[in-house]
Assembly symmetry: C2
Homo-oligomer: 464 residues x 2
């Protein structure tokens, strides 16, 4: 029916199709330069993210799973998200562990009396009422303990292990109580897992993975105190400590992942997750771990909304619950959305502090790395153009294990383990300009992946 | 009687006299190069100073005036000095203030409940039993308080003043309670006087200089907490705090300056003092303030003794008591030795932490600076060759005011106010190699001034 389209119309249509096809071939950093620039400029224009994080942390303080503060933070976040004009704002219920610290202390009794700077490890059992009073054996490694197991019987074992990397050193926090139990010890202490200390002890989770040994109370003491006890032992002094912990694990309680969206304009069922975790340890303010990641993810999506950048696919901000002592938020999301995971295009998370961003770590098929690097080039103007292979974050881990590609914000971590899981994880350590750059990086990555013509292939699931 | 001296003997004698005269003209850095090298090599040869300081701080902990720990440290130091073979080891009695902290706390009640990281200021009165519960007014300066005096009535005034220099910022610690009292406030809080914080509040002395106003309880809170309260006020939130302090001042008690000597081989009545203060605040270990200065001074003299370097004049190590809250040690020494101060050639002190030494600050006649710089050149091999005009330290201040020249060890102070007067003033912040350099610098300066042909003229006394 030639009368329906004039020759001129056919030519115009053909030209349009060719141009669209050419555009689909265009590198992402060319295609999205203008949108990325808008997002970056909007992120850097003010201190909105910093101010929102300050409001969150000042108003609610720390937010351990099971606490009232966490649930009130979740309620507040959803209210604010509705006010921001985000869509489908809701909480997705998930049952979380409810560990409570109770009263706790550690006191050096001999060679002289002095309170130690201690903090119980999350998940630990408590001591009997009145505490445990025992001599201390200080060891520098698990191997040293194995070689001195006879000396450890009935004692409080202190692992005075200097920080190397978090991954390496944290094993003593996770497993120290088991190693001490195997040696017949009465309790386990660790030197805080920290690269610099000002008498701030660092908590974090431990678990009784090995159920064949007794569950010993486990706590961290400050780096300073651990080194002091080690020096005392090296001088041949007898060290005696009273450890008292009221910790206990209550029945699981319900918490929620906070979810909000910009629904995709073309493929609403395809989803890019952009996320951080709202829960924290019960000390400090959880400003960098991970209030900052939560707010950066949220602000990234709010900026798209404010700028009218509605991508092809759905962008879903998720503020996880219970990263710290269970990752039940991430596991619950995987379970609740299992049928839709094939349509999860990418799972982004920030959980290394909202310090100066360098770029991202990408966990996905090698074949997609060049495309991801095109996106990273859009962040070169703010120094965040790095895109390397590497592991995604904990909360999106359950999804990634099922094949969903992951993207982790990579930041300057120089001081992260100074503050991490301690009273010093507070707002003042963060910089409004650096947070704004994190927001920009999250926004550009999420937007481009949600809007680009192609997708990143899933990998073969590692679990089912 | 020409037969008594041969012509040859006369020539030899004349040559000797000429050579001695020439030697007296020789710059000090040539004359003492060999001795200085021996002292430096001996100081750097091992970790003796670090180990002695670790023993001191681990065994006795902090050492506030009036405490048993201070007096036991003094006893121990004298015992060790005798064992070192020093001469005339003794304690010189002096009456010192006896302020005790008691139980103390500050708790945020509104806008949410949270314990604050607080420490009472030394010299403060306590609160009534049950504490003071009041709204908080946060001000950024004394000028701001003056402009808002009507708002301050009945409130707890918090001075949230960012650290610039110690000299400038510490005025709020010294005088904040007076300014708050003049505005009719109920108590005074200050942001800790510190250039970097990990929730470690910093104490230090305050005094009620102005006796016309009421004595308000005064405490420091952590930098983090001060900034948080300021943010809350900026948001228009009502801040309510309960401050509870059991502080009180007991009658003065006797303490001692520790004194030990190498008696001069030619002019035993002429004295070079080399010193640090043994007392500390009642928090942390007083490792850098000023156990380190004490041990560096002591080790400097021990090294001379061990190397058989007995100078022309007496070298007197003095470990002061009560620098922190009274300077009664320095004042008592001045009073007890008033008649001998004309023969005090130089008063050296280290009280800025035993970090990497740059050299010295010299408080004395400008005309002597070139000679002092000759001495400093001997320390160039360890990077401590700086000799600038500047103030001496607190304990030797009373002597300096009477004309005795002063020399203060000048060190890399980058991190000093991170730790100063807080729980984080501990051994692990110090480096054995840096302490050894401090020992070397003190030893060379003290030895050369005690042995050199000339002396530094006294200045006209500023007080009598």
């Amino acid at each position: 029916m030639p009368h329906l389209l004039s020759r001129r119309a056919v030519l115009v249509l053909a030209a349009l199709l060719v141009s669209t096809a050419a555009r689909a071939q265009e590198p992402l950093d060319q295609r999205y330069r203008a949108d990325a620039t808008r997002l970056i400029q909007a992120a850097l224009a003010d201190s909105a993210a910093y101010n929102r994080l300050a409001t969150l942390t000042d108003r609610f303080g720390h937010r351990l799973s099971g606490s009232d503060a966490l649930e009130r933070t979740i309620d507040w976040a959803m209210e604010e998200m509705r006010r921001d004009g985000l869509q489908n704002v809701h909480g997705e219920p998930v049952m979380v562990p409810h560990w409570v610290r109770g009263e706790e202390s550690a006191e050096l009794l001999s060679p002289r009396a002095q309170p130690l700077h201690m903090i119980g490890l999350g998940g630990s059992v408590g001591t009997p009422a009145g505490g445990i009073t025992a001599d201390v054996l200080v060891v520098g490694s698990a191997e040293e303990l194995a070689g001195r197991a006879a000396d450890a019987r009935g004692k409080i074992v202190l692992f005075d292990v200097p920080f190397t990397t978090y991954g390496e050193t944290v094993r003593y926090r996770s497993l120290g109580a088991i190693a001490a139990a195997k040696a017949g010890a009465a309790a386990a202490l660790i030197r805080s897992v920290s690269s610099f200390s000002m008498q701030n002890p660092h908590t974090g989770s431990m678990r009784y993975y090995d159920t064949t040994v007794v569950r010993l109370p486990a706590a961290a003491i400050s780096v300073e105190d651990a080194m002091m006890l080690h020096r005392m032992q090296n001088r041949g002094e007898r060290i005696r400590v009273r450890l008292s912990m009221g910790a206990r694990t209550l029945p699981d309680v319900q918490s929620r992942n906070v979810v909000a969206e910009i629904v995709g304009r073309e493929r609403p069922d395809e989803v890019v997750v952009v996320s951080g975790h709202l829960d924290s340890w019960d000390v400090g303010q959880g400003a960098m771990d991970d209030g900052g990641g939560s707010v950066a993810a949220w602000e990234a999506v709010r900026l798209m909304q404010r700028l009218g950048l509605r991508p092809r696919r759905t962008v879903r901000v998720v503020l996880w619950t219970n990263e710290e002592n269970g990752v039940r938020g991430g596991a619950g999301y995987r379970d609740a959305h299992r049928a839709q995971l094939d349509q999860h295009v990418l799972a982004i998370e920030s959980d290394n502090g909202v310090f100066r961003p360098f770029g991202f770590r990408f966990q996905g098929p090698d074949a997609s790395l060049p495309m991801m690097r095109q996106i990273a080039r859009l962040l070169e103007p703010i120094g965040a153009g790095r895109m390397e292979k590497g592991d995604g974050e904990a909360d999106v881990g359950p999804m990634i294990a099922l094949g969903v590609p992951g993207l982790a914000l990579d930041v300057d971590g120089t001081k992260y383990f100074w503050y991490h899981h301690s009273s010093a994880d507070t707002m003042d350590k963060l910089d409004p300009g650096e947070i704004a750059r994190c927001v920009a990086a999250m926004a550009v990555a999420a937007y481009v992946v949600a809007d680009m013509p192609g997708t990143i292939p899933h990998e073969v699931p590692r679990e089912r």
